[in-house]
């Protein structure tokens, strides 16, 4: 995988589960692949909340811990 060989995928932890995704994705791409509308979720990347405007410009990188949350029923 290392030394001169192009890395085609990156490993991330998404909502607590390990996943491998394509290299070069943005967070907006990731949401699109998951068929999630950006207006309906909030993204936390490595414990920092991403503003919706930043999704397009934020890359998904090796080792990222990403949480995708939304509102559910609760009291």
């Amino acid at each position: 995988m290392r030394s001169g060989v192009t890395v085609h995928s990156v490993s991330i932890v998404l909502n607590g589960k390990s996943r491998t995704v394509r290299n070069g994705l943005t967070v907006a791409d990731l949401l699109r692949d998951l068929e999630l509308h950006p207006a309906m979720v909030v993204v936390e990347r490595n414990r920092k909340i991403l503003a919706r405007e930043a999704l397009q410009a934020t890359p998904v990188e090796e080792g990222d811990r990403i949480e995708l949350v939304h509102f559910v029923g609760g009291g």
Partner: protein, 267 residues
């Protein structure tokens, strides 16, 4: 249509005026349709929601915004399930990032069995959230000192429990609830423990500004019917409080004249 005939003023929290004194949760309903129908029947304007991970495997569990419109209800994100101030801050900020409003129902739990609040952690989190620009409605114990400290911390409402979350035990300490209401300036909303309509009525008779419930409606055999009952009970309790109850006494006093009875020599 039931109206508050006394022309009671709306109660104001932060920059919002609310007519309904009933706030309801959205958890534990059997179906989303039943939830929406029950909430509409309750007449509630403010509705709580929780922040949780999107289920990426079973996508059938859609987010609640697919069912409840922020145009129809004031959606209040909570920090339910948080056991530390740090977690509560994280959940509150995630909720705010959804972009609906900057309000939060702050809840920091201290014990699994009773779900009683960790009041020290709640106070710490309340201070940080207020400083961060949040309108904080703080769930707390029926403890006057903590309630006063939460008001001092800048909370827009203080929400003492009637009894433990989901217990349906009703108001276990009406005196403490009354005293909290007497001593605070911000609205006092009783949150958690109401089991049925009489509990809601008794709660409102203590003079508090409102009541927040979830399980009592969602876990009823007929949630829509119970939602209607709760709406009426909250109105009844509020009106009874405003009307001022008679003094209780442990001896009977006849309601009908004692004079003019038949077969008596006099009177």
């Amino acid at each position: 249509m039931v109206r508050d005939t006394r022309g009671d003023l709306p109660f104001v929290m932060g920059d919002h005026a609310f007519t309904s004194r009933l706030i309801v949760g959205t958890g534990k309903y059997r179906t989303n349709d039943e939830m929406v129908t029950a909430i509409r029947a309750s007449g509630a304007e403010m509705v709580t929601v929780a922040v949780r991970r999107v289920d990426l495997d079973r996508r059938r569990e859609e987010g609640i915004l697919h069912h409840l419109s922020p145009d129809e209800f004031f959606l209040l994100p909570n920090t339910a399930g948080c056991f530390t101030a740090e977690d509560a801050l994280r959940y509150a900020r995630l909720g705010r990032a959804a972009g609906l409003n900057d309000w939060v129902k702050l809840e920091v739990i201290g014990d699994e069995r009773t779900l009683l609040p960790d009041t020290a952690a709640t106070l710490a989190a309340a201070g940080e959230l207020v400083a961060d620009g949040f309108k904080v409605m703080a769930y707390t114990n029926d403890d006057l000192i903590t309630a006063m400290r939460l008001e001092d911390a800048g909370c827009v409402a203080v929400m003492p429990l009637a009894s433990p979350i989901g217990s349906g035990l009703g108001v276990v300490n009406p005196y403490y609830i009354r005293e909290i209401k007497r001593r605070l300036t911000v609205p006092v909303i009783v949150d958690a423990g109401v089991g049925t309509a009489s509990d809601a009525c008794v709660t409102m008779e203590q003079g508090v500004d409102g009541v927040l419930m979830n399980t009592a409606i969602a876990a009823a055999s007929d949630p829509v019917g119970m939602a209607r009952a709760m709406k009426l009970a909250v109105l009844a309790g509020r009106e009874a409080y405003l009307a001022g109850r008679m003094a209780a006494r442990e001896i009977a006093v006849p309601s009908s004249p004692t004079t003019g009875m038949l077969d008596r020599e006099h009177g």
